[in-house]
C-alpha cells in the first residue's frame, strides 16, 4: 500500500516536473543493444556502460577516469587481504528502499554465486561481510592491487527487491537463466528505466532523488540500437537522433561539413595488433620450419608495414600509431616502450635475407571484418605491404562470429586482435591474457602460442605486488621485453569518434563507455 502511494506520488511529482522544468531529451543510437538488465548475467562492456546509468558501484570513475567514492565514501586495508569500506548514508533505491550494508552483501553473494556470469571479472574476491549497517569488509585471495578497479564494475542491487521478486540468484546470458532482474532494473543511479524493448529501444527518465548532484541537465534518454553505419548517419543527419556513437570514420568529414552537426573525438584505450605465431610450423607452409621463430623475421615483418600510410588513408588521420601494447593513460605505459620500428622495406628485405629467406616465404593473415574500426581495410593494406617485401600473404577476413572461435582454436598464422585492458583498465591485463603462456588460468587470449619464461615470471610477480611503483615498473619491464622480442606487432590505437547535433555536449571516455550523467543538451 505504502509503496503504491509512493509510486503515485512520484508519478504526480514527475508530471509536475514535466510541466515546470523544461524537458531535455537526448535521443541516441549505437550499433549494439543492451543485452540484459541483470548486471551479473553478462560481461559485455556496452551493457555494463548502459547499466551504469541505473546502478551505482561502490567506487566509480570520474570525468578523468580516476577512481572516486560512489556508494562507498572511504576505504582502507585492515589486513593485506581485507578491505574495509564505509558506505554512503541516506541513499535510496529507485523504489524508495534505503541503501545499507545488507544490499552490498546480498549483491556480492549474488555476483559470486557459482552460476553468475560476471563472476570471472572479480575472480580474486572471496566474499563481502557486514560489519555494521554502513560498514562492509571485502576479502580477497591474498594481496590484490587491482581491487578498486574491479569494484568500479560491480553494481549494487536492492536486497529487498531481489527477495520480493525471487531474484537473489543471478541470471546468466550464457546458460539462458533469467530472473525478474533480467527485465527490471532497480538501482540507485542517476536514471531509471522507463521501458526496455530489445532491438526496438530503451527509454530512461531522470532519477530526481539521486544522491549525487547531477552534472547533466537531461530529463529523458531515448536509446535506439541501429546496426547499419549508413542508416545511423542518415538518421542523425535527418534529425531523428541527437548523438551517434560511434560515427564511421569515412563519414566524419561529411558530418562536420553538414550545418548543425559536429564530430567529437578522443583516442580510445583499444590497441589493435597482430598476433605472431610461435608454433613450429605455419599453416601456410606445412612441413617447414616456422620462419617467424627467428627474431629477424619478426623485425622484418614490423619494418615492412607502412603504419603512416595506414593511419593516413585507412584511419583518416584519426588513429595514433604505437610501439607498445597499452595506451598512454593505462598503468604500464611508458614513452620509452612506445617507439614503433620505422617503416623501412629495404631493411625488411635485408633482415629476411640475413635470416635465410632472401626470397621471402608464405603466410596466412586472418582478420575480422566487423569488430574493429576499418579492420578489413587495414589487413588488406598489410597484406599488400608484406607481399611487396616478399612475404606472400594470403588474407582471409570474416565475421567476428566465426573469427574469434577460430582464433581460440589456433587455426590462424598471423591474426588481428584488439585489446583495451578492460575492465580493470590496467596494463596487467595485457600480461595476464596476451603475453603469459596459456596455462594456470593465464594467457586466455594468447592465441599465437607465445611462451617466454621471463614474461611468465614477471606476470606472476606483478599479480601480487601491492607497491604501486614497483608494480608499474614490472609492467613496463614486461612490455619492453614484449616489444624488443616482437611478441606482437602493434598497429595503432583506435580512435573514438562520435557525432552530435549542435547543442549537445557529451564528454567522451577512452574506455569507450557512454556516460550520459555528464551530458548536457540545449
Amino acid at each position: 500500500m505504502k509503496t503504491k502511494l509512493v509510486a503515485c506520488l512520484s508519478v504526480a511529482v514527475g508530471a509536475l516536473m514535466g510541466v515546470s522544468a523544461e524537458a531535455k531529451t537526448l535521443r541516441w543510437s549505437s550499433p549494439t543493444d543492451i543485452t540484459t538488465l541483470d548486471p551479473y548475467a553478462h560481461t559485455e562492456s556496452f551493457t555494463t556502460s548502459m547499466l551504469h546509468h541505473v546502478f551505482d558501484p561502490l567506487v566509480r570513475r570520474n570525468r578523468n577516469l580516476e577512481l572516486e567514492p560512489a556508494l562507498a565514501v572511504s576505504w582502507k586495508n585492515v589486513a593485506p587481504d581485507t578491505w574495509r569500506f564505509e558506505l554512503r548514508k541516506g541513499v535510496k533505491f529507485h523504489n524508495g528502499d534505503a541503501f545499507t550494508a545488507d544490499d552490498v552483501v546480498a549483491s556480492f553473494d549474488r555476483l559470486l554465486d557459482p552460476t553468475s556470469r560476471a563472476r570471472g571479472n572479480v575472480a580474486t574476491i572471496v566474499k563481502a561481510v557486514k560489519v555494521d549497517d554502513y560498514t562492509v569488509d571485502i576479502m580477497t585471495q591474498g594481496p590484490y592491487p587491482l581491487l578498486l578497479n574491479d569494484l568500479a564494475g560491480v553494481y549494487i542491487m536492492d536486497k529487498k527487491w531481489m527477495q520480493a521478486n525471487n531474484a537473489l540468484k543471478p541470471g546468466n546470458i550464457a546458460t539462458g537463466v533469467t530472473t525478474a532482474a533480467s527485465t527490471t532494473a532497480v538501482g540507485t543511479g542517476p536514471f531509471k528505466i522507463e521501458s526496455y524493448k530489445p532491438d526496438a529501444g530503451t527509454n530512461f527518465v531522470v532519477n530526481t532523488d539521486w544522491w549525487d548532484k547531477p552534472q547533466h541537465n537531461l530529463t529523458r534518454i531515448e536509446f535506439k540500437p541501429v546496426k547499419s553505419d549508413a542508416t545511423r548517419v542518415a538518421a542523425l543527419l535527418s534529425g531523428e537522433l541527437d548523438l551517434i556513437a560511434p560515427a564511421p570514420l569515412q563519414d566524419l568529414q561529411r558530418i562536420s561539413a553538414a550545418p548543425g552537426f559536429k564530430v567529437v573525438e578522443e583516442p580510445s584505450l583499444r590497441l589493435i595488433m597482430l598476433t605472431v605465431p610461435f608454433r613450429p610450423e605455419l599453416k601456410a607452409m606445412p612441413g617447414q620450419k616456422n620462419p617467424m621463430l627467428d627474431l629477424k623475421v619478426r623485425q622484418a615483418m614490423w619494418h615492412a608495414i607502412d603504419f603512416e600510410a595506414i593511419k593516413k588513408r585507412v584511419m583518416r588521420d584519426k588513429s595514433r600509431n604505437t610501439g607498445t601494447l597499452v595506451a598512454p593513460p593505462v598503468p604500464g605505459y611508458s614513452k620509452d616502450n612506445d617507439q614503433p620500428f620505422g617503416y623501412d622495406p629495404e631493411k625488411a628485405k635485408k633482415l629476411l635475407a640475413e635470416a635465410g629467406y632472401p626470397n621471402g616465404f608464405k603466410t596466412k593473415l586472418n582478420c575480422p571484418n566487423d569488430r574493429y574500426i576499418n579492420d578489413e581495410q587495414t589487413c588488406v593494406a598489410i597484406a599488400s605491404m608484406w607481399t611487396k617485401v616478399g612475404i606472400q600473404t594470403d588474407l582471409q577476413t570474416e565475421s567476428r562470429a566465426t573469427y574469434f572461435p577460430r582464433q581460440d582454436r589456433f587455426e590462424f598464422d598471423v591474426s588481428m586482435v584488439g585489446w583495451a585492458t578492460l575492465p580493470p583498465m590496467d596494463g596487467f591485463s595485457v600480461l595476464a591474457s596476451l603475453l603469459a603462456e596459456q596455462k594456470e588460468g593465464y594467457g586466455g587470449s594468447n592465441s599465437g602460442g607465445l611462451a617466454n619464461p621471463q614474461i611468465d615470471a614477471l606476470t606472476r610477480k606483478a599479480a601480487v605486488e601491492m607497491d604501486e611503483t614497483k608494480r608499474r615498473a614490472m609492467l613496463v619491464e614486461t612490455l619492453k621485453i614484449a616489444r624488443d622480442s616482437v611478441a606482437y606487432i602493434p598497429i595503432h590505437q583506435q580512435p573514438l569518434a562520435w557525432a552530435v547535433r549542435d547543442g549537445v555536449d557529451v564528454p567522451q571516455f577512452a574506455d569507450e563507455y557512454v556516460r550520459l550523467w555528464f551530458a548536457n543538451v540545449k
Binding site: 546470458i173 530489445p198 531523428e240
Partner: protein, 323 residues
C-alpha cells in the same frame, strides 16, 4: 478425398521434420556461441565450462533430439542475445514484418495489376514500353541499392520521411501496429516501397502474360465475334480470368516476401523478424536462427500444402495422380 488430405498432411509433417533437422544441423556449424559470450580475457577452462553449460559439448544427435522434443512442446529456447523466450520474440517481431509485407503486397498489387493490364492491351504503346523498360531496370537493380538511394533522397536530402525504425506504434493486445499513427505510417512508406519493388515487377509481368494468354484464347475471340463491348471483354472476361493465377502467386509469394524482407529490414533497421534473424546470425544466436528457419519453413509448407489440396479439389485429374 480424405486419403489425399491425409497423405498431403503426412508429407507436410515429413518435410517439417527435415526442415527442423536442417535448421538444427546448419546452425550447429555456423559459428561458435562461446566466443560471442565468453569474456574478452576468458581462460580456456572457462570457455570449456561454458560449452558444457550450453550443452554443445554433447553429440550432435543428442542435441538434435533435445531440440526436437523442446520444439514440439512449443519451447524454442531462450535467445542468447535477448534473454527472452524465442517464441515470445518471434510473436513480438511478427507484426512488424507482416505489416511491412501487407503494405508491400498492397502497393505491388495496386500498381502491378493496372500496369500489367496496360502492357497487355497496348503492348506497343509508348506507356507500355516505358513501363516495361522501367520494370526491367527495376528487377535489374539490387534491393539494397534501391533502399539506400531512397534513404539518401527522401530522408537525408529532402527530410520528408524517416530513415529507420517503425516510428510510433500502438499496442493492440499483443499486436503492435504502425497503421494507427502518422509517424508509423510515414515510417512504413520507404521500406514498403523497397520491398514492393521486388514483388511489383513479378505481378505486373504475370498479369501481362496471363492477359495476353487469355486475350488470344478462343472464347475471347468468340466474345469479340459476337460483338460484345471491348471494355466488357477486357475487364469482365479477360482480367477476371487472368487474375486467378495472380492471386495464387501472390499467396505463394508471401513466404518469400517475408524471407526477402531480411534485406529491406537490414537497410531500414526495421525491428521485424528479418532483422531479428540477421542479428541472430551475427551473434550466432542458435535458438533464434533455428526458430526463424522453422517458422519460414512451416509457412511455406502450409501455403504449399493448402494450394496442393485446393488444386486436388478443383482438378480431379491431379487428384487421381497424387493418390
Amino acid at each position: 478425398m480424405l486419403k489425399v488430405l491425409l497423405s498431403r498432411l503426412g508429407q507436410a509433417a515429413l518435410v517439417m521434420l527435415v526442415v527442423s533437422a536442417v535448421s538444427f544441423v546448419m546452425f550447429r556449424y555456423v559459428g561458435d556461441p562461446v566466443a560471442s559470450m565468453a569474456r574478452e580475457n576468458a581462460s580456456v577452462e572457462e570457455k570449456a565450462e561454458l560449452r558444457r553449460t550450453l550443452g554443445i559439448d554433447q553429440p550432435v544427435v543428442v542435441q538434435y533430439g533435445r531440440f526436437l522434443a523442446r520444439t514440439l512442446s512449443g519451447d524454442l529456447g531462450i535467445s542468447f542475445r535477448n534473454q527472452r523466450p524465442v517464441t515470445q520474440l518471434i510473436a513480438e517481431r511478427l507484426p512488424a514484418t507482416l505489416e511491412l509485407v501487407i503494405i508491400a503486397t498492397i502497393l505491388s498489387l495496386s500498381l502491378g495489376i493496372p500496369l500489367g493490364v496496360l502492357c497487355a492491351l497496348k503492348p506497343n504503346g509508348v506507356a507500355a514500353r516505358l513501363v516495361q523498360a522501367l520494370s526491367l531496370i527495376g528487377i535489374s537493380t539490387p534491393t539494397f541499392v534501391t533502399g539506400i538511394v531512397l534513404i539518401l533522397v527522401f530522408a537525408v536530402t529532402l527530410g520528408w520521411l524517416p530513415s529507420f525504425g517503425r516510428g510510433q506504434v500502438v499496442e493492440l493486445g499483443w499486436w503492435s501496429t504502425g497503421f494507427l499513427t502518422w509517424s508509423g505510417l510515414k515510417s512504413l512508406l520507404l521500406p514498403g516501397i523497397t520491398l514492393a519493388l521486388y514483388q511489383l515487377t513479378l505481378i505486373m509481368r504475370l498479369v501481362r502474360a496471363e492477359m495476353i494468354d487469355v486475350l488470344s484464347s478462343d472464347y475471347i475471340r468468340f466474345a469479340k465475334a459476337r460483338g460484345l463491348p471491348t471494355r466488357y471483354i477486357h475487364f469482365r472476361l479477360a482480367l477476371r480470368n487472368a487474375l486467378m493465377p495472380v492471386i495464387t502467386v501472390t499467396g505463394l509469394q508471401i513466404g518469400s516476401l517475408i524471407a526477402f524482407a531480411i534485406i529491406t529490414e537490414t537497410v531500414f533497421q526495421w525491428p521485424g523478424m528479418g532483422l531479428l534473424f540477421i542479428q541472430a546470425v551475427s551473434f550466432v544466436d542458435i535458438p533464434v536462427m533455428a526458430a526463424y528457419l522453422l517458422f519460414v519453413g512451416l509457412l511455406f509448407v502450409i501455403i504449399n500444402t493448402v494450394v496442393d489440396i485446393l488444386y486436388a479439389v478443383v482438378d480431379p485429374r491431379l487428384r487421381a495422380r497424387s493418390a
